[in-house]
Symmetry: C2
Subunit: 227 residues, 2 copies
C-alpha cells in the first residue's frame, strides 16, 4: 500500500539547509502494523507528513495505493487523503472553536456521510477512547491527554484503510494508552494498515515491525510478527 523510494526532504538552502530526510526507502503491505522510532529530530514527523500527502519530498518517489503521488494535483491528493487516510498529529490540530464531537465528525463531513450516521459514529469513536462524558467540551476545556484522545478518535472514525499516528499516546497514562492501542489493534485485525511514530515500548509491543530512523536515514527495519 505504501512504496517509498529514495525520499529526500530538505528545508532551506545552502549553508543553513536542514536535511531532514536523506534517502529513505521502504514498502508497507496491506495489513502491516509498523512502529517508527528514532531520536528527537531524526525526521519521523517529516516522513509521516509525506506519507499523509501533507508535504512533498524534495526528491524521490512515493506511491500510495498504486498512485504516484507527485503526479496528482492538490485536489486529487486531498481526495486520496480524506478518503483513505486517518491522521493523528503530534500536536493534535483540533479546531479550537468546535466541540470534541464536532471535531470527530469532521472527516465524515468530507466523506459525505449523512448527519445522523456522523453523530452516531462520532459518539462511538469517543466512547472507544473513554470520552463519552466530554463530547460537548471545547478543546481548551479538555486535559492534554483528552485532547490527544479526541485526535485519535477523529483519525479512526472513518475506519480508514491507512492510519498514520504521530506519537498518539505521548500525553497518556498507561490505561488510556492501552485504550488507544486496543482501538488500533482492532483496526489492524480487520485489515487496515497502521503506521505509528512512538518512543514508548508499550506501543511497540502491539506492532508487527519496527523501523528506526537516525539523522534522516533508516538504520534498522525489523519484523517481529508476520503480516
Amino acid at each position: 500500500v505504501i512504496e517509498v523510494d529514495g525520499i529526500h526532504r530538505t528545508y532551506g538552502e545552502g549553508e543553513t539547509a536542514v536535511h531532514a530526510l536523506r534517502g529513505v526507502s521502504f514498502t508497507v503491505d496491506v495489513g502491516d502494523y509498523v512502529a517508527i522510532r528514532g531520536a528527537s529530530g531524526s525526521g519521523k514527523s517529516t516522513l509521516m507528513n509525506i506519507l499523509g500527502c501533507l508535504d512533498a519530498p524534495t526528491s524521490g518517489r512515493y506511491v500510495l495505493e498504486g498512485h504516484d503521488v507527485s503526479r496528482l494535483d492538490d485536489g486529487q491528493q486531498a481526495i486520496l487523503r480524506n478518503r483513505r487516510i486517518g491522521f493523528v498529529f503530534q500536536s493534535f490540530n483540533l479546531l479550537r472553536r468546535t466541540s470534541a464531537l464536532a471535531n470527530v465528525e469532521l472527516p465524515m463531513v468530507y466523506a459525505r456521510i449523512p448527519r445522523k450516521d456522523r453523530h452516531r459514529r462520532a459518539l462511538a469513536a469517543l466512547e472507544l477512547v473513554g470520552l463519552s462524558d466530554r463530547t460537548h467540551h471545547l478543546p481548551n476545556e479538555l486535559s492534554g491527554g483528552q485532547q490527544q484522545r479526541v485526535a485519535v478518535a477523529r483519525a479512526l472514525v472513518t475506519s480508514p484503510s491507512l492510519v498514520l499516528a504521530d506519537e498518539p499516546t505521548g500525553n497518556l497514562d498507561s490505561m488510556s494508552t492501552e485504550e488507544v492501542l486496543v482501538a488500533l489493534d482492532h483496526l489492524n485485525v480487520v485489515g487496515r494498515t497502521i503506521v505509528v511514530i512512538t518512543h514508548e515500548d508499550q506501543v511497540v509491543a502491539h506492532t508487527k515491525r519496527t523501523i528506526e530512523l537516525l539523522d534522516g536515514m533508516i538504520v534498522s527495519d525489523r519484523r517481529t510478527v508476520a503480516v
Copy 2:
C-alpha cells in the same frame, strides 16, 4: 516551600460542573523532587496551574514560600511567578514568531538580566538540552520534541527556586529524556525544588517522592528517597 490545604477547583456550575480537584492537601519542602502521576483527566495540570499562580482554586488555601497566594494581587502574583518559578507547559506555549533563543531569553527579560548575560545563559540552557544547532529556528521549524526541549530550557534558564514541569518528556525518545532529567537532577542537587507531572517510569526513577491523583483527589503519597 509549598503548602496546599483543601484545594478545590470546579469548572462550570450546576449539572455540567466539572470537579477537577476535590480537596487536595499536601506540603513540599525545599529541595524535594516530586513526581505527580494519575490517569488522563485526573486533575494534574489543574493542580499545576494553581501551584504556578496561573489559576486560583475555587476554595482552599495555597501558601507559596510563606505567602498566602489568595492575598496577593495580580501584580504581586506575577512578580512571584516570574522570579521564583520555572514552568514547563504540557503544550509548550512558545512564542511562535520568536526564535528558540529569544524564547529562552524571555524569563530573563522579566528578571531584568542584562542582554549580554541573557544571550550567554540562553545558549547554555539550549546546549544542556542538545539544541545548540537550532537556536535561530522558529518553533514551526522545529520537531515536536525540539519544541518541548526549548520549553524545558526556558523553564530552567533562570535557575528558579521552584520548577513545575507538566509532562516535559512526553514527545522525547529515551536519550533526549535523559538529557532533560540530568538537567533537572542537577538543579535539585543544588537545592531547587522540582515538581514534575509525568506518566513515564524513566522520569519517576529520578524523583524522591510520588503523589498519585485520581478523579481530583490524592490517593497515594509515597517517599522513595529522603530529602
